[in-house]
């Protein structure tokens, strides 16, 4: 019983991490049709910002608070300078964002000396819940992720800004025809996606340490999650991320880890073959 609870909690916390990473990717893909190959590097930048703030002597949570804003600002600049030119050529966007990611990754690698560096979590220690040792920080990640999800959902469905975003998401031409400035919406959405990634990076850096390849590690799972969840909605990437995260964490309990790894992908592909729209079949594909 104890190990089942343990398993559930760990699976949940890893799932939450993946959801956070994937959400930004999914939103950007849904709205602009661009698969941002540099998304992983936004996660890395969030982690790096947290590390920098910490090594400057300030408390870690300050770095974690700052990270989404720093990365959002960075994302905004990138969107204006680079990404905007790719809306008409989404394929070229792949090359462009890949190149961008390469530059960011290698720069960070040079700055941190290619090593793995730890960043302490703001809340140290474990709680004992129902006989199970639960890491407080991982619990915090789950809670924060849930709050962010709820907040984003409310923003999208209850505010007029959210209405405009959803309009641009579902039918850009009609939105433009209705007087919505899709250009501004795109910029803000991109920045928002980047902020989410930055937050994800900041939250997970105590768990995984800071290293230059932190971003790439999540990129493939991110794409898989977006495909699995379905493009064109907000719930899609969340569902996809949750599914991928849960499977990645849960399968090693049941089968040999080497096999579990591949199985996640195979299961996802077979699922999408049978249900092409993805988990939440609702939007444009």
């Amino acid at each position: 019983m104890e190990s089942a609870l343990n398993a559930i909690f760990d699976v949940l916390s890893f799932g939450a991490i993946i959801v956070l990473v994937v959400l930004g990717l999914g939103v950007i893909a849904s709205m602009m049709g661009i698969f941002n190959f540099a998304h992983g590097e936004f996660v890395l930048l969030g982690a790096y910002t947290t590390y920098l703030v910490h090594s400057a002597g300030l408390p870690v949570w300050a770095g974690m608070l700052a990270a989404p804003f720093v990365v959002a600002a960075f994302g905004l600049v990138i969107e204006r300078l680079v990404i905007r030119r790719f809306y008409a050529a989404p394929i070229a966007a792949m090359v462009g964002t890949y190149a961008l990611g390469l530059v960011i990754r290698e720069s960070v690698r040079g700055l941190i000396g290619g090593l793995y560096l730890f960043v302490p979590e703001p809340i140290v220690g474990s709680l004992s819940i129902a006989g199970v040792q639960v890491s407080q920080w991982r619990l915090a990640i789950v809670i924060i992720t849930a709050l962010v999800m709820v907040g984003s959902y409310l923003l999208l469905t209850r505010t007029s800004f959210g209405l405009r975003v959803r309009a641009a998401l579902e039918n850009p031409s009609l939105a433009r025809a209705s007087g919505i400035s899709t250009s501004a919406i795109y910029a803000i959405t991109f920045a928002f996606g980047a902020a989410l990634a930055g937050l994800a990076g900041a939250l997970v850096v105590p768990v995984f340490s800071l290293f230059a390849d932190l971003g790439i590690r999540f990129l493939i799972q991110g794409f898989l999650a977006v495909m699995l969840g379905g493009v064109g909605t907000f719930e899609g990437p969340v569902a996809g991320g949750a599914a991928i995260g849960v499977m990645s964490a849960a399968l090693p309990w049941a089968v040999a880890p080497v096999l579990a790894d591949v199985l996640v992908f195979v299961i996802a592909i077979v699922f999408v073959k049978l249900r092409p729209g993805g988990l939440i079949a609702g939007g444009r594909v």
Partner: protein
Amino acid sequence: MDHGNADRGAAPTMSRRRLLQRAAWTAGAIATGVGSWVIRPDWASAAEPIKVGIATDLTGAIGYAGNANANVARMLVKDINDAGGILGRPITLLIEDTASNESVAVGNVRKLIQRDKVDVVLGGITSSMRNAIKDAIVARGKTLYIYPELYEGGECTPYLFCTGPTPAQQCDEFIPWLIKNGAKRFALPAANYVWPHKLNEYARKVIERSGGEVIFEEYYPLDQVEYSATVNKIMTNKVDMVFTTVISPGVGPFFKQLYEAGYAKRGGKLACVYYDEDTLNINAPHEIEGLASCLDYFRAVIHDDPASARIQAEYDKQFPGKILLSAGSGATGMYRGLKLWEAAVKEAGNLDRDAVAAALDHAKISEGPGGPAEMVPGKRHCKMKMYTAVAKGGNYDIVARSDGLVDPKTC
């Protein structure tokens, strides 16, 4: 300042020759170079430089280790040249990047062999890199190759010499020490590639021979970062010694999850034989408190051995910063390799591959990081002093030293 790939280890009188060589290389590089059958003028010179090639990972995931190797090479070559070179000839050092990528590596290694025509190549860090470049160097390139990094043993290719620790060296004294200090129930969680497989194979024999018990041995994909299932197994089976070969990016989260589950609190211990100063920063100090490792060198050895202290001080002065002289990166093996090769060339009196190989076969050095070293004749591997160290408060304490030089027991 690096000038491309040639370090100026030579005296200024070489500059015109160097310039002409550089010009020839540039022309070749822009694909209008001179064909390989043109006879070059014979620049008869008594002080024709000896060319040493270093092929190591300067960029990419293994860059932190490759750069340490390159730094050690630079430091040593400068020292040797300042002392008059070998056989009265200066050394020219040529460094190529293997970029943590085997396909790129082979192309760059070929530059060393065919364009620069080096007399020896040192380098490669991961075993997959060594396997990728060894043919280009030894078989097709007919050049000596010295591999400096700790690995799984079993590399018995002629003209390929290894100066890093083998499983025997890392386990023979270490595991009995662990058992003597209370370890009984071992878990062997490992990364899924060759080195952990071979190491665990050897370790298991030593564990069982010394009275310990292996509770489980499990392999994980190299980039797995979620270890809850493993931690659970360790806790429920009352394992008291986790002898792990999980590597980054997984090892940090693994140790963290283990700590959070209460493993250390109930007296569990950690052992990881590639852990050195580079890896200390992956976790918070309390998460790896008491972790034991066994390598040919730790920084703390400078209190034991004056020669090591001198070498470390010199390295720190020339290369302050993040790239450390550490055993896990192969930098110590690089030092040993270059010095042993130097001794071999002096004995052979020339640079003929067979003569140097024959001399290298039984070469010895009396000073090096960690102490002296000796090649085992016929085996092309190196005996060296091994140290057991324990992590305390984010630094290592040496708790045991081998009496003499430990045998690699391979080939």
